[in-house]
Amino acid sequence: MSIKKNGVTRRKVLKGASAGLITAGVAPSIFVKGAWAQDFRNDPKGGDVVLGFNVPQTGPYSDEGADELRAYTLAVKHLNGEGDGGMLNTMQPSNLKGNGILGQKVTYVTGDTQTKSDAARDSARRMIERDGALIITGGSSSGVAVAVQALCQEMGTIFMAGLTHSNDTTGKDKKRYGFRHFFNAYMSGAALAPVLNAEYGSDRRAYHLTADYNWGWTQQESIQNATEALGWETEKNVLTPVGAGDFSQYITPILNSGADVVILNHYGKDMVNSLTQAIQFGLKDRQANGKNIEIVVPLFSRLMAQGAGENIKGILGTANWNWSLQNDGSKAFVKSFGAEYGFPPSMAAHTCYVQTLLYADACERAGTLYPPEVIKALEGHKFDGMGNGATEYRAEDHQCFKDVLVVRGNQNPTSQFDLLEVVQEVPRSQVEYDAKIFGGELGPYEVS
């Protein structure tokens, strides 16, 4: 019997049958949410989505950790459709509906990093292995971020970093499973240098005091490169031990060194102490080379500003975000956070809140919780309405690129929280760099 009737050939039948079989086999995988996802660690399989918040709950950064935890709790509430929704209302584009993640309720577990790499890895591992955490997020230190990020890469668990400012986090130590929303030391230098140039002139001699660890070195190198490119000279860079307490022996050599700008590459308690003591030694009341001596703190946070008290007034630095920003996203977040806790959020709280929403949104866009697909959804993702203007998660290094704030210690604060005033919102284009300059390899999507 001929099958060539009506133009149908045997070849066409075989083609059609093959296509039909393939379609029948694959279609469910395409049209059913998450159906391509193979088994992966801590797949909730329709149950609650568990997030692991790894923040310093004890130790010197526990106040910052407490603020991060407040932000995470608020983010979970908003994701589950409770409260006023915060930045869910301003995020663009957004696939978040206030019904959890992919319709599954969001819950969380917490760990204490103690701002120690070993303790942070232990608590992250515990949350992944015992508590079923699908992601790990949080932290207040670059050392911790790099250590936890490496662990998360090994375990195939996404790490959404909290406060970490070292170039290395998304540079030589970057990982496929690690993502940083916070800005970095390079961006601080690139944003701050032109403002310093405009405020203090191009004929300046800088004296650096630098915390003797990874973040301090990268911060110092970045700000030195940026200021020297504008014509400044570097008088000296003195490394100071972390937790030195009394910095007087490092400050006195500055007095008659000929330097007319002092750059304190310190963070946290070290910054509070070195700035307080530099002011007490009268550095701001002196002159060198016929100019007033100026003090600069490249990385500011509101909690540090509170610790330094009056001494912060008039000092220039950079910040990832400030609660006084008047864009829609910032206003929505400050309103939610302030109504919940009675005071405005810190920039650490902001970055943690945003990271949680970004992860949730990526899951919605990917249509699955399967980490490699969520990672692909985050890579190169462009968004707005989260407080920093138009932002992009660069695919090459998982670093967020957005405007950077240059801030100054407020001369006339109106409240105990009104400590920093925004001097300039430096556009993203000015702080962007080639991902290759810091090296590193992201690693594979699939891990065994």
Binding site: D63, S248, Q249, V272, Q280, N311, S324, K331
Partner: protein
């Protein structure tokens, strides 16, 4: 030359704090034979007496504004310190001089804490090995710092220098040098004078009072003094309280230099023990001498000229000097035979 002079001043200032803590440690060791690792915590508690005092006198009346709103939509809080309302100008002076005034709070509080600590815990460990004393007092120090953290948080609590004592004094001009050649913070000079005064007072108390004479006799031969019918234990308990007061006062006055947080005591503890060992266990003059010596040595090692030749020397110099002194004089600078040798 000016850099050298400034570093010597720095060293003396730093040494003042070391000497005050080491003096208290030595008093406790010399009288009770206890190695007290909680002594640094007493320095920290003293600092928090200043923080507490300031919090009390800056308590504010909060009135909610009927017209203005905060950025998060709640009524704006208008705050006025009660001290200002009740005492007028004196209230402002009280707030401005909160650190010196808080010494008045610190003395009874530290005395009470010191005596309670000795009666409640330390006395049960007199006859126990030094290792056990170290363990229990170290544990106590951790408990105390966690309590402080619970109430005051982990962030540093800045304390202001009174306005009249802010800024730097031009010491160079006083000795005929050009302006700004040698300037030094006024408060640090105040701290140096304060620590010298406290040290002198402790020595005078032990040297010129009957109580001090009995204590010195007890330190030399506890059993003989007891056999004379003197309750030496009671006097030693009071000495523990005095040692706590000395550490506490040092902590109060140090708060404008180093905004205190709960780790303040631990930061000073290790250095203070080195000071005690270098000075000679149980020797009060040794503790003072070693405190100032190590403070000055540490500062001089941080001079640019020195660091250019030996980078990082500032971070190890104290330990290096301690090793050398103990190799040359195993009992420390002014240590006596027989102390901690059996």
């Amino acid at each position: 030359m000016d850099a050298f002079f400034l570093q010597v001043l720095n060293g003396l200032d730093k040494g003042g704090a070391y000497a005050l803590i080491a003096l208290g440690l030595t008093l406790v060791f010399g009288t009770l034979g206890v190695v007290n690792f909680a002594h640094g915590a007493l320095f920290m508690i003293g600092a928090f007496c200043a923080v507490t005092f300031r919090k009390l006198i800056t308590l504010e009346q909060v009135v909610l504004s009927k017209t203005e709103l905060s950025p998060w939509g709640t009524p704006l809080e208008i705050r006025t310190p009660y001290a200002q309302q009740w005492f007028g100008d004196f209230g402002n002076v009280l707030i401005d001089y909160s650190v010196p005034f808080s010494l008045l709070l610190a003395i009874p509080v530290m005395l009470l804490i010191g005596i309670s600590m000795e009666r409640g815990l330390i006395k049960h460990f007199y006859k126990r090995p030094h290792a056990e004393q170290i363990l229990v007092t170290f544990g106590l120090a951790i408990v105390l710092q966690e309590i402080v953290k619970t109430f005051f948080g982990a962030n540093p609590n800045p304390q202001p220098i009174p306005q009249a004592l802010q800024g730097a004094a031009d010491l160079g001009v006083m000795v005929g040098l050009a302006q700004h050649t040698i300037t030094y913070p006024i408060w640090r000079l105040v701290y140096l004078l304060f620590s010298l005064s406290v040290i002198a007072s402790v020595f005078a108390f032990l040297r010129f009072t009957t109580f001090g004479m009995v204590v010195r006799a007890g330190m030399a031969d506890r059993e003989t003094v007891s056999m004379l019918g003197i309750n030496i234990d009671k006097r030693f308990t009071i000495m523990f309280g005095i040692a706590a007061v000395v550490a506490g006062l040092a902590g109060v006055m140090y708060t404008p230099i180093l905004p205190p947080d709960y780790t303040l005591g631990m930061d000073f503890l290790v250095l203070s023990f080195i000071v005690v060992v270098v000075g000679g266990m149980g020797s009060l003059p040794g503790a003072v001498l070693a405190g100032f010596t190590l403070g000055v040595v540490q500062s001089l090692a941080s001079m640019t000229a020195v660091k250019d030749i030996l980078p990082g020397i500032d971070q190890i110099i104290i330990y290096l000097v301690a090793v050398i002194i103990l190799l040359v004089r195993p009992r420390g600078l002014l240590g006596k035979r027989g102390v901690m040798e059996n």
